[in-house]
Symmetry: C3
Subunit: 238 residues, 3 copies
């Protein structure tokens, strides 16, 4: 080990980190203009925040959506990655922009405050996982990342391996009258992850009902492949 | 844990599952039309079957090919995924369609009956793996997924890391007069997997001879990277 | 286990292998013309060498760059793969061509001689990793793979999760006057890896200074996500 490895200082950009999804939140108050030029952001703010993770996209996006709602910030890029430390899903990177570093830092802090909540309906076993997400009112982050309708109820049914997610989607759509925003499968997805995903919008009660029905079906199926799927945090979709 | 996690019922769509490749087989007897509309299937059957896995594509495709041969069903979509639970290869999702749920379920049952056989020539160690597949007569699933010629002998030589597969391909082509169907490398593949893959067609004896020669070469090379590669089930290509 | 698994011979194509990155080096002295036809090489040499790995791209590319410098060989293809045995990064496959098998084998031997050196500034913990690479004079392999400028100083700052790499890039660019060759993020990269990457060129002192500053920042941030990041081999960038 060499000396610089013994540095105990903390980089000024650091805002927070959480073992849940190996998530880190950073803020660059005055991003280098040459770097900003090369980044794929839809609007060039000089103050940017980044939430980046190894595992998960839904929990971070729904958490950041709360951060966007509660601050004067905007989601300017969301990128997906085949990662999850060997899992079948994706990691993601969310970039937000603002005019005031304190706004951007606050949005990231709100993200970490909500992170465990939105990991509450992620259930896994050795064979795969089932993820559900729900919000009564989608904001900028979910609009940018997932095509949610601003201010409308929005939900996700997602599972690995992919076929489990397709049956969950079928069950959800037969349960309640909701609008399909997207159906994603391995070859038709942000990255070739092993997921079947349905995103839905509509009346909040219907969206929640569809998600709850899909969740039960998905957990039954994943349970057939191994141990009973478990969640690391309490379920929030009731 | 909350109540719905204690559900012990089995979803009606469930047909079978196997730890080999973390493979699950499902049948949706009357798929939701809005979902079917969004799926990327080449023909819109209202009865669909899905075989989805975490690890492997060859074993599931060759097994489903037997299922297709023995029932009145059709392969309508095959999708690849970067997964294998951290391995260098791919998982896949196979969608079949039929007119009668009993046909679709039977095709999936035949798939699971054959699955261990077609895992018989998958050899691995900590550094990677070598996979061989062979059939004397390719049918709809291999035609759809891998461009095999209907009714002709068809084979696969595949390895991770990719370079091992390229040398296996070179050895196979120098051994017997076979027709190249495809050569796949990481950037020129269904997904950026770490595989070198040759698929071949031709006279059945020549195809088998080419595969056996490539297998010996691949196992020698992979063995140079770590322990002697082992297969979990008996080899079927003799 | 069946008999062919007990083969103890070594394939003639084998040149070397190393546990570092699970890297193997092979030489095909007279590649099958039908195979060569299907390969995506920029020039069709009949003598090809391949270095292929599970984990890492930078160390292998910088090592092979030394091999190219010291032999009459040419880099004719570089392909990236989502692999790293479950990590968030990429593996790669490097193909070189030559007129004389002894040249190609020598280039591969030089690659393995340098491999541990170029793994010296790869630092990891359970949450991710930080990688730095530097050369005072880039040659054919780095030009082909990463758009380096022939004969100029060239460096890489790379980290997983991606946000860490972006802050490292920002720090590096604010530290010294260097030229940006590329900025890569998950959706704008060779494969959807969970990496933020900056490649730079310029005056050698400036490039090294920028890399050292980015390294310190990256190690601080990654350290916030888990244990102190460690390198398996001694750092070479001083």
């Amino acid at each position: 080990m060499i000396d610089f490895l013994n540095s105990t200082s903390v980089a000024p950009e650091f805002v927070g980190a959480d073992k849940a999804g190996d998530t880190i939140g950073l803020c660059i108050p005055n991003v280098d203009p040459l770097l900003l030029e090369k980044m794929h952001v839809k609007k060039k703010y000089s103050v940017i925040g980044i939430v980046s993770d190894r595992t998960g996209g839904g929990p971070q996006l729904f958490s950041m959506d709360e951060g966007i709602k509660s601050t004067n910030t905007e989601c300017i890029d969301v990128e997906w990655t085949n990662d999850t430390k060997g899992g079948g899903g994706q990691g993601c990177m969310i970039v937000i922009g603002g005019y005031d570093p304190s706004d951007v830092r606050e949005a990231i802090k709100v993200t970490f405050k909500n992170l465990h909540r939105y990991f509450g309906d992620v259930y896994g076993n050795d064979a795969g996982y089932v993820e559900l997400q729900y919000t009564a009112r989608a904001a900028g982050c979910l609009v940018e990342a997932l095509g949610a309708e601003e201010g409308k109820a929005f939900g996700i049914l997602n599972a690995c391996p992919a076929a489990v997610g397709i049956v969950m989607a079928d069950t959800a759509l037969k349960t309640a009258g909701v609008k399909i925003i997207s159906v994603a499968t391995p070859s038709h997805n942000g990255s070739p992850s092993n997921e079947g995903t349905l995103t839905i919008s509509g009346e909040s009660g219907a969206v929640r009902q569809a998600i709850i029905a899909g969740r039960e079906r998905g957990l039954e199926l994943l349970g057939q492949m191994g141990d009973k799927p478990v969640n690391d945090y309490p379920s929030y979709i009731q």
